[in-house]
């Protein structure tokens, strides 16, 4: 049994290629442009992270906050567009959201080192 899409009449693309073309091939042409745009945004984000290190935002912590903000934006682009999280089904969110919360908790526990500092 094959799940492949089998349209009844042959399109031009199908005559060229022996396998079936899904109806939404157009849809993927549009997506390719989007992926190029996301890739360009990620490259721009990388350049921005490097350049902002040359600006003094008042303290080291502020510089790190700015850098992490850019990294978070880049990460969101990858997750939403490259990993298709934008169009993904709820079943994935059911376990990815708890995972994210647990990881956030892990960071929080480690950040407690700020409160109980090792003294020399």
């Amino acid at each position: 049994m094959s799940d492949a899409h089998q349209p009844s009449d042959l399109s031009a693309a199908e005559k060229e290629h022996p396998v079936s073309v899904p109806h939404d091939a157009e849809h993927f042409h549009a997506h390719v442009k989007l992926y190029l745009g996301v890739g360009a945004a990620l490259l721009l984000g990388t350049v921005v992270t490097v350049i902002v290190t040359q600006i003094h935002f008042g303290s080291e912590a502020m510089n790190i906050a700015v850098g992490l903000l850019v990294a978070a934006i880049k990460a969101s682009l990858v997750i939403l567009f490259f990993m298709h999280m934008k169009e993904e089904k709820g079943s994935i969110y059911q376990f990815m959201i708890p995972t994210t919360i647990i990881v956030a908790g892990l960071f929080l526990i480690c950040a407690l080192a700020l409160v109980d500092h090792i003294k020399f």
Binding site: V19, H31, V47, T49, F82, F95, L106, I109
Partner: protein, 295 residues
């Protein structure tokens, strides 16, 4: 027997099985890297204030590697889209490009970046001897600046093999080090912000008394918490890149062509799944790059 739900969604999850599978795996990967990244947070917050190393890595090379990984993420998604558009030739081109990018990334990391660190040496000076090396540490200047930073380490390379031997030999009392720019001119005000283009090593060679050295090491994991966590995270990330390359390589074999001819949608789904893994590897690097190279 046909494996069920390779293409058609399974009614209870609403997704074909491999997609649920890879996402469950990625959830475990989030925990794995989350543990290591939170260890970085812990080590950094727990470090003696003002002593976390800065500017020890080559930023242009790191930036180049970041760009290469982003390019490979774009090309793997193009390879998948090519299969969706039923163009196998195009798929092969983009998959080949992805493999090329991954291999260049790994080559730069293991062939250039890591080895460049292995002959670089750092000597942490005892607190009661810091004044002797003030000319190379510039702590009075840093205190005036009020940045809360101080320098206790002198870094550079051994000018001769004898100096390396002197360091290793318990009988020897002193050794020499050719200084890095930061120790050659410790009061240069632009030491504060990271140098995008690394400054060349100075010609200044100084003698260091071994009794003044609290801890000295090449830039290997034992050098400091910084390098320990750097090698751990970038090493594990490198293993992931290698794993991705192996799977990509498998999908370039004739077996993929046969699967594509039998069931193109199944083949496209395979590439979507390995692509999801690859994007995750890119995601890890998006955070690893700034925390080790820039902050």
């Amino acid at each position: 027997m046909e494996i069920p739900y390779t293409v058609k969604p399974r009614p209870d999850t609403g997704l074909w099985n491999a997609k649920i599978g890879i996402w469950l795996f990625l959830a475990s990967e989030v925990m794995l890297f989350g543990g290591l990244f939170s260890a970085y947070v812990f080590l950094r917050f727990g470090a003696v204030p003002g002593t976390w190393p800065h500017g020890l890595l080559n930023i242009p090379v790191g930036t180049l590697n970041t760009a290469i990984l982003i390019a490979s993420s774009v090309s793997v998604v193009f390879a998948w889209a090519a299969l969706k558009m039923r163009n196998f030739r195009r798929y092969q081109v983009f998959m080949g490009l992805t493999i090329l990018c991954g291999a260049i990334f790994l080559g730069i990391k293991l062939g250039y970046e890591w080895p460049a660190k292995f002959h670089h040496f750092g000597a942490y000076i005892n607190d009661d001897a810091l004044y002797k090396y003030e000319a190379y540490l510039g702590n009075e200047f840093l205190a005036e600046e009020g940045e809360g930073r101080r320098r206790t380490e002198i870094t550079g390379t051994f000018p001769t093999h004898e100096d390396h031997e002197a360091w290793e030999n318990p009988e020897a009392k002193e050794f020499r080090l050719r200084l890095d720019a930061v120790n050659a001119e410790p009061t240069n005000p632009d030491n504060y912000l990271p140098h995008i283009f690394p400054r060349p090593q100075s010609d200044k060679v100084v003698t260091i008394q071994k009794e003044d050295v609290r801890w000295g090491s090449f830039f290997v994991p034992r050098h400091s918490s910084y390098f320990a966590v750097y090698y751990t995270i970038t090493g594990l990330h490198g293993i992931h890149v290698l794993a991705g390359l192996i799977v990509f390589g498998y999908f370039m074999l004739p077996v993929s062509k046969r699967l594509y001819e039998r069931d193109p949608e199944h083949m496209a789904n395979r590439i979507e799944v390995v692509g999801l893994f690859w994007h995750f590897v890119d995601l890890v690097w998006i955070f690893a790059f700034p925390i080790f190279y820039l902050f």
